[in-house]
């Protein structure tokens, strides 16, 4: 399956973060690429949401949902800036 982009998980991100996130700015913790969440590579063919850097493929975000619980791993990010 081809990688999608951050637009495809806008609903999931809004649910987890409580706000619109595709315009949030993310920086990759490995290569430093910085841009809107809408532009990251997204893989939905596994059991959760996998987000990778469009430049270096570094794992940025993993979101796994289990019933009412959402486990969110953001350790691949150098920064995440949400527009006020």
């Amino acid at each position: 399956m081809d990688a999608l982009d951050g637009n495809a998980i806008a609903g999931t991100l809004a649910e987890v973060f409580g706000t619109e996130m595709t315009t949030a700015v993310v920086s990759c913790g490995a290569c430093g690429r910085t841009g809107p969440m809408a532009e990251v590579s997204v893989y939905l063919d596994g059991p959760g949401v996998v987000v990778r850097c469009r430049s270096c493929s570094n794992l940025l975000v993993v979101i796994v949902r289990r019933r009412e619980l959402a486990c969110v791993d953001l350790t691949g990010l150098a920064s995440l800036t949400i527009a006020g």
Binding site: M1, D2, A3, L4, D5, G6, N7, A8, A10, G11, A14, E20, T22, T23, P36, M37, A38, E39
Partner: protein, 232 residues
């Protein structure tokens, strides 16, 4: 669900009435969630293909034969049925008059759905922002919103079509995939600094966005949306 419009053998536009709908921006989408009797859930995201000013909210669903959601939406959903939907969603791939222009839209296959919302919004608010659409489909039969796209009525919109597989005998438009030469001929030149929206299957978006950057367009003014459908 209020009404369906069969676009072609693969795609159907479905109109909904949303109680307490807060309104939306052209380009946004909704998530549709289906729940089976055993509790199994499947969720898909669909771009809204109507304008914010339209009376009802429409999505266009391309039927994927091995899909979990699209065969139900296109084949089994009936007028009056209720669906679990969430939205509007997304704030990146949207266009408002205040974003200005000129605007270059590039669509592959059913990627034209959110761009049709932008075009209808443009017309509904009588915007004078110059807008161009370059739209790729496999054939005239598979071109979504065929009447709207072949007979445009908005003075500030120019539409260029390319049919990649089958062209009618009298076809005067392009007959190949979107490429560098086509963008040079049909799109706003980089000197106009257009705001670009590219939507379609992932390989289509990668190719078009990459070519735009190679041609000297500002990457910061190219907005992209990729999806898993087929058909450019």
């Amino acid at each position: 669900m209020l009404e369906t419009v069969v676009e072609n053998s693969q795609a159907t536009t479905i109109m909904f009435d949303f109680p307490d709908w807060p309104g939306f921006l052209a380009g946004q989408h909704v998530d549709v969630r289906l729940t089976a009797q055993d509790g199994y859930q499947a969720q898909r995201s669909y771009s809204i293909s109507s304008a914010p000013e339209d009376e009802h909210v429409a999505i266009t669903v391309e039927r994927l034969d091995d899909g979990e959601v699209s065969p139900f939406l296109t084949g089994e959903l009936r007028v009056g049925d209720e669906l679990e939907m969430r939205g509007p969603i997304g704030g990146y791939f949207v266009w408002q008059d205040t974003d200005g222009g000129p605007v270059q839209l590039v669509a592959g296959g059913s990627g034209v759905a959110p761009l049709r919302s932008i075009l209808r919004h443009h017309r509904a608010i009588a915007s004078t922002v110059p807008m161009r659409l370059l739209c790729s489909a496999r054939s005239l039969e598979l071109l979504l919103y065929r009447d709207e796209l072949t007979s445009p009525v908005d003075d500030h919109v120019e539409i260029t079509l390319t049919l990649t597989r089958d062209q009618p005998p009298d076809w005067a438009g392009y007959g190949r995939r979107v490429d560098r030469d086509m963008l040079v001929e049909a799109a706003w030149a980089p000197a106009h600094q257009p705001l670009c929206y590219v939507c379609g299957p992932t390989p289509f978006v990668e190719t078009v966005a990459g070519t735009l950057v190679d041609l000297g367009y500002d990457p910061g003014r190219i907005r992209t949306e990729r999806f898993g459908g087929t058909g450019t």
